[in-house]
Amino acid sequence: MATTTTKPETLFGKKIRRREDPRLLTGTATYLDDIKMPGMHHACVVRSPHAAARIKSLNVKPALARPGVTAVFTGADVKDLGPIPCGASLPGLRTPHHHILAQDRVYLVGHPVAVVVATDRYIAADAVDLIEVDYEVLPAVSDPEKALAPGAPAVHPQWPDNTAFTFHQEGGDITGAFAQAEVVVKQRITSQRLIPTSMETRGVVADWHAGDKSLTLWSSTQIPHLLRTLLAGILGMPENHLRVITPEVGGGFGSKLNVYAEEALMAFVSMRIGKPVKWVESRRENFLCTIHGRGHVDYFELAARRDGTMLGLRLKLIQDLGAYHQLLTPAIPTLSVLMMPGLYKFKNISADIVGVFTNCTPTDAYRGAGRPEATHGIERMVDILAAELKMDPAELRRKNFVGKDEFPFQTATGLAYDSGNYVLPLDTALAEIDYPALRREQQQARASGKLMGIGLSTYGEICAIGPSPATPAGGWESATVKIEPSGKITVMTGASPHGQGEETTFAQIVADELGVDIDDVVVVHGDTAIVQYGIGTFGSRGTAIGGTALYYALQELKGKVKKFGAMLLECDDVALAGGKCVDERSGKSVPFAQVAAASYRAMKLPPNTQPGLVATYFWEPPNFTFPFGAHVVITDVDRETGQVSIRRYVAVDDCGKIINPLIVAGQVHGGVAQGLGQALWEQAVYDENGQLLSGELTDYALPRAHMMPWIESSHTETPSPVNPLGVKGVGEAGTIGCSPAVVNSVVDALSHLGVRHIDMPLTPEKVWKLIQGGRA
């Protein structure tokens, strides 16, 4: 019987609701703290209240005497384990030995000093208070610039200059550029310390099986496989005796792209007590003991000609590293350097980084990781130049953009931008707000004493991180696709999504490629015993690299399915559609389930074909991808109070091809929220003794729903040639694009008062003082 097969609509580009949401929204998902095991013990960590101190004595006896306390371990117990690894390698990098528990000295508030293990969590918490630690308090330093000053307290006594590394990168002819310059604008720009604050804090459950000397470790992490490899190293345990599982992960934003002391510590505890043990981070611990982000003091100099042609950019970057290197700490500012030219075509740059130790929480990758700082810098500098030249900031940008026919574009920092059309999102956004009319309105507003500003940021970013030579632990990603004997499809991705929605987008890719129903696809991730090795989810890489690995695995699998299909249909070639293999000439078809069953039953095999339907692909990307976009923000500033309110927020992002617009919108919204957080509210504040004053959510101001403006989000689509899906990544776009647009807008509102720059966050008092006549 002949049937006509209509090609079903593809799911690529469709607004498919996230398949993970029902379980997340109905409270039926399993997060780390939901894990309960028979005989499970609970651990609490004793932490230093001082930023720098010598441990004179430590008395654990009163805690041990508390009924219900099973064990207490201190630095001496774990001195031979570790260290906690730093994956970044820079020439001459000084790396302090990072013990799991402090030895004889503490280097930051929150430094783990001991761990108490008890039969329940309340007892463990009580017992923490019973541990007596006698500290000899030492001078501390919390400001990176002060740490560099002669005579500053040494964070690590062996390095009195507090300098972990210096790093220089240069491209083109920077001296020539500045010699030719007709204008040079200079500005000190800071990107304050931020606390990533994922909704779920970290947590670890470790379960040692003495019988086979194996350990299962659940951790709320973004990188289960890397964690397993590195943890095996810390513990001195064969990697294949260790299984790492990520339950549902309630956000990470880079803060869970790390290996933490508590992961090793819980493994150690479980091995010592022979019982499963759980530790869940409190919010206070989260603020002190999980990495922070940003922490830049940047000195920029931009050289240009009077006609607005930008010639070169110099940067002196002081990175506040904190007291230790976590996994990528020293590498983050180098990403800033890569990004520093932004979307502009000048080819002369010079950057000097100084990585500085402070008695503070280590900084590391936080949404954008190095790139928001760079974008903030260049986009502020372009506005400062525009003000200096009395040029329209949009015009100045257009003049300097890399042209749409210049791709791939080789940057002065050694990158090859893959594709782009930078004018398009800018013009789209400006048309959306009717830019000329707004400028007229601004003139009138000023005449009547009102303050309104229009701020642009045309940002670029480096995504799909990254090709292996550029990534400390390998930059590829893996996928396995199995068609089960029943015809259902299981995907195992090495990426470890934790809120990004890959269970949906990856299923969309599978459904399209195999011509099956999306409900027949299950995406599995985050268990090293089940999923082949992978790198993880960060740096907007999940879809661009993990999705591409999946795409190629599917191509291999399709070939095999077709062979079986053709064998069963007794024809040369078949198409895949509607959950079937279809012989397009005869119209005959055979359902997937039958093809799958035949492949496993293997009564008969196509020539040169093995039984089963499984394909695995490890994809190494040839390049990063380079998304871009334009964010335009209109602000009104209350002249009397300095309060900034956002009238409109227009985001036109180009993240290449869009697989699922709903998910992309979610990423843009969340990203912008965190960008606004940095621009307006958030800051980790330490006092000069290294106490974190913004130590809880009562002082650390996260953006909440009622503080958010309406985000008018739209897209242009410039496919990436780097991968066959044409996707670029969108996880960090909102964060990167946002903060300079907001600050540019507020500076624009105040520019006629002589204001040239304001450092974030733009708190009302700061803005009010500038309105009062202080220039910045």
Binding site: P49, H50, D129, F287, D687, N689, Q691, E696, T698, D699
Partner: protein
């Protein structure tokens, strides 16, 4: 955190100076002070219980008097640590005779750490000022009940 201010103590300067260094008076005036034991010259071991609405915490620490310039100034150093954090106040008290008594000016720093520093930021300044105010109010009250102190009995 920097603190400064002044209070009027309604007694002559010399007496005010003695009152302010009298451990019995200090023990009664310092908010929450339970015990004050001499451990050395001008140095005392202190146990205190700070209670502020629902917040309460036990502190164990030291009170020290230094740089004493009778009857015009001295430094008062109070430090304590407990489960909810630690604090250290170091202030220079300057006494000047004024009409109706002695003006006691203070200027110094308060360092706070641990939970109280991390979660109480919004309230630290208010609380510090309140504690100081209570101290001087108590002191004033103590100075009124004249027979209440006899430094030699303790020292």
């Amino acid at each position: 955190m920097k603190i400064s201010g002044s209070f009027l103590v309604p007694v002559p300067q010399e007496r005010a100076f003695r009152l302010l260094q009298d451990p019995v008076v200090l023990a009664r005036s310092m908010p929450g002070c339970d015990t004050l034991e001499r451990i050395g010259d001008n140095e005392y071991h202190m146990k205190m219980k700070m209670v502020l609405a629902s917040i309460s915490g036990l502190f164990d620490g030291k009170v020290r008097i230094a740089d004493s310039r009778p009857h015009s100034s001295f430094r008062l150093i109070v430090e304590g640590a407990g489960r909810i954090g630690f604090m250290k106040g170091d202030g220079l008290l300057t006494l000047t005779p004024v009409e109706g008594g002695t003006n006691v000016g203070y200027e110094g720093t308060v360092e706070v750490g641990g939970t109280i520093a991390a979660v109480g930021q919004r309230l630290l300044d208010t609380t510090a000022r309140m504690m100081i105010k209570r101290f001087f109010e108590k002191l004033t009250a103590e100075s009124a009940s004249s027979g209440a102190f006899s430094p030699t009995a303790i020292l």
